[in-house]
């Protein structure tokens, strides 16, 4: 079947660079990050994605418009997520049959209790830790983003700087309170609440930056801000303890909960500035932009590619079979990280390109500039 797609709208290049940087950090965070590459991925990478989502978000006017928008998001995010969730449920089941157990909720149909548990894992766990099928673990971000959109459209009842500013000011104490609760490492739906608050904070920060960009750009894009933010992160890390945390667990691993949050925000702003500058110099067909535009595919597939690499290494006799059941296992990762990470980024991009070439035909419409002379001629006739 051939689908049709109109030419894509112009993209914000610096956003593509930010996404590229973020997804490379996700892949590195899940495998191996070289010691001299920027800040550790687990200090900022998921915060960066929520920031970018908020940066691109817009507040809809009126309940009907908001409802329509959230329904559209449910189709493009939730439906997307659960479609692939079903695929990975089947894949996880088949792999388990083959002796490779990847997930703590491997689908089972032995008894009604098994079926009920499998259904719960399929429908509910995506909104808690989302790690029920290990190969699909990274996609927890997608349903979480939908929840954030719901909160965003509810809290920010109408567009405008004032509403967003007030919402951000209110979100800060609420999030800090919930993060203190999150230190107890919840594993049920309370985790969803804590994580949604944290994600919403970064989302709203991104949205506020977008709304005030005309004034904030002078500060956020100034080289001195880069130095100050970098120094501040270092000072915070030295004097106030840990800044690394696992976003999905809702536990920031520091009793001073403001420390990792502030560090994350500063690092995200550093990336924001660097991406702005990089976008000025990158060619429109640069591989950096290609990676940034393929974020979703890489997010969904990179663990599967990791498994593929491990299977090849197992076939070569370098990896024991039982290690294939460990999603985070990598063979001598300090030396072989490129062997995992380059395919994890490249394969989803190449597969998507191949698939698009087969199934999608881009419909080009005459642009307004091209149409104008034709219309003039028609008028003359």
């Amino acid at each position: 079947m051939t689908a049709f797609r109109t030419p894509a709208a112009p993209r914000l290049l610096h956003v593509d660079v930010m996404l590229a940087f973020g997804i490379v950090m996700v892949v590195m965070g899940h495998r191996y990050q070289p010691p001299y590459l920027f800040f550790p991925a687990y200090t900022f990478h998921m915060a960066l994605f929520f920031f970018v989502s908020g940066y691109l978000a817009s507040i809809k006017v009126g309940l009907r418009e908001k409802g329509r928008f959230l329904a559209h998001k449910a189709r493009s995010q939730l439906l997307f997520y659960f479609r692939w969730n079903a695929f990975f449920a089947a894949l996880t089941f088949l792999l388990a049959v083959a002796g490779i157990r990847l997930g703590y909720a491997i689908p089972a149909v032995g008894s009604w209790a098994d079926v009920a548990e499998s259904g719960r894992a399929f429908l509910v766990v995506p909104f808690t830790d989302g790690h029920h099928y290990h190969l699909y673990a990274a996609a927890w971000f997608i349903p979480q983003l939908w929840l954030v959109h719901v909160v965003f459209q509810t809290v920010c009842f109408r567009p405008g700087r004032l509403v967003a500013g007030v919402a951000l000011a209110a979100a800060v104490p609420v999030t800090l309170f919930l993060l203190e609760e999150g230190l107890q490492s919840y594993e049920d739906l309370r985790l969803t609440g804590v994580r949604t608050a944290l994600a919403f904070l970064f989302f709203l920060a991104g949205h506020t930056v977008r709304l005030w960009e005309d004034r904030l750009a002078k500060v956020l894009l100034a080289p001195w801000f880069l130095v100050v933010a970098f120094a501040a992160v270092n000072v915070i890390a030295i004097n106030f303890g840990n800044i690394r945390y696992n976003f999905v667990l809702g536990n920031v691993n520091n009793v001073r909960v403001w420390v990792p949050v502030t560090a994350s925000l500063l690092i995200v702003l550093i990336v924001f500035q660097l991406s702005h500058h990089a976008a000025r110099f990158l060619d429109d067909r640069s591989w950096v932009l290609v990676v940034g535009r393929s974020t979703q595919d890489i997010l969904v597939w990179h663990f599967t590619v990791f498994l593929g690499v491990n299977v090849v290494l197992w076939a070569l006799g370098l990896v024991p079979f039982e290690k294939l059941s460990d999603n985070w296992y990598a063979w001598e990762k300090e030396r072989t990280w490129l062997l995992y990470e380059v395919p994890a980024i490249a394969v989803p991009i190449l597969v998507r390109r191949w698939w698009d070439r087969r199934t999608i035909q881009v419909v080009t419409e005459p642009t307004r500039a091209r149409r104008a002379p034709a219309e003039r001629k028609a008028a003359q006739r």
């Binding site: 070289p34 010691p35 001299y36 590459l37 920027f38 800040f39 080289p223 001195w224 970098f230 120094a231 992160v233 270092n234 000072v235 890390a237 030295i238 004097n239 500058h277 990089a278 000025r280 110099f281 990158l282 640069s286 591989w287 950096v288 300090e334 030396r335 490129l338």
Partner: protein, 349 residues
């Protein structure tokens, strides 16, 4: 007119040098000790001009004499401060006897060449002299050959000699002097060579893929000890030389981007314009800050004058590094008077 790119690189180089000497924050890419000296020599080579005709010998001699004389005088001053008990560690000149005075003179005259241990307040003396020597050697060779084509060959030759000798750190003495000078010549030559390449090569060098490959290569070399360079002590292996070459090329690429982003009145460019003062003065300023911290009870007295920065200093790195960079730069600007930025002509041709 100095190139804005070169000024930016000077800024980055002195920041790296000062951080290597004082304190480096945790998340700042590679350890500054591993590449700062190489970067300084690389930039020094970038702005190397060929002396013309009969002026050549005079120019070259002046280059060395001014650098050596200046550093020897500064060494003497630093030594006297040690003697007066106002500065930490290092050799203490004494004039109590003829032999002691001879020893003091040896320190003053030979420490700028790295043949004697430099006073703690002026540890980078050898860098300034080595820059002058390397520039003189390269410019002399270029004047004889008639072009700077010798720079590439000079780099490869000096690098091959160093890699073959693989000096393991002589501490002081002739071998250290030779190793450091050869090292300076190599990276000066590399800087001159890279600065002179055409636009297509320049574009290839700064392409994102080149940066990514450079990063991956350095990461691989780091596991072979490539980032444990001890240039100060003259310990240089092939892995560290290759690593430094890659790192300075990456720094050059990053600086070329940064040069197009930083404003004309940026602090980075200001540091780049006053690099001599910053290299010469940072240790003295850092010492004064540490002294103030010791007096305030924030640091133990043993931290003063120690070759290795005290762990307690980590908490105060910002108030140590910033004055060490800013004070010499501000003093140098004040001494030189207010001048328009050097790149005005380049921006408004």
């Amino acid at each position: 007119v100095r190139h804005r790119h070169v000024e930016t690189m000077w800024g980055l180089a002195v920041v790296a040098l000062v951080m290597a000497a004082t304190y480096q924050p945790a998340f700042l890419l590679y350890p500054a000790q591993a590449f700062s000296a190489a970067l300084v020599f690389f930039v020094a080579g970038c702005e190397l001009a060929m002396p013309v005709g009969r002026q050549a010998p005079t120019t070259l001699a002046r280059l060395v004499v001014v650098a050596y004389g200046g550093t020897a005088l500064a060494s003497a001053g630093a030594g006297l401060l040690v003697r007066a008990g106002l500065a930490p560690g290092g050799p203490t000149p004494s004039f109590a006897s003829g032999e002691a005075a001879l020893g003091a003179a040896r320190v003053i005259l030979l420490s700028p060449l790295g043949l004697e241990q430099a006073p703690a307040l002026f540890p980078a003396a050898w860098v300034l002299v080595a820059i002058a020597l390397a520039r003189a050697v390269l410019a002399g060779a270029a004047a004889v050959a008639g072009s700077f084509g010798v720079a590439g060959a000079g780099f490869l030759g000096a690098l091959a000699a160093l890699a073959a000798a693989e000096p393991q750190g002589a501490g002081s003495g002739g071998q250290l002097f030779v190793a450091r000078t050869a090292f300076a010549v190599a990276f000066c030559a590399l800087g001159r060579f890279v600065h002179g390449v055409g636009e297509p090569t320049r574009r290839r060098l700064r392409a994102p893929v080149s940066l990514a490959l450079g990063f991956v290569a350095v990461d691989a070399l780091a596991s072979s000890g490539g980032l444990r360079s001890l240039v100060d002590a003259g310990a240089l292996g092939p892995a560290s030389l290759l690593t430094m070459t890659l790192v300075v090329l990456m720094a050059s690429a990053v600086a070329s981007y940064a040069a197009e982003v930083v404003p004309t009145r940026s602090a980075l460019l200001a540091l780049g314009r006053t690099w001599v003062a910053v290299i010469a003065g940072h240790a003295a300023v850092a010492f004064l800050v540490e002294l103030a911290l010791v007096r305030a009870g924030a640091l133990p007295g043993a931290a003063l004058g120690s070759a290795v920065p005290a762990p307690e200093l980590n908490r105060f790195w910002l108030i140590c590094v910033v004055p060490a960079l800013a004070v010499p730069a501000i003093l140098a600007r004040a001494a030189a008077g207010v001048r328009p930025p050097t790149n005005v002509a380049q921006e408004e041709p």
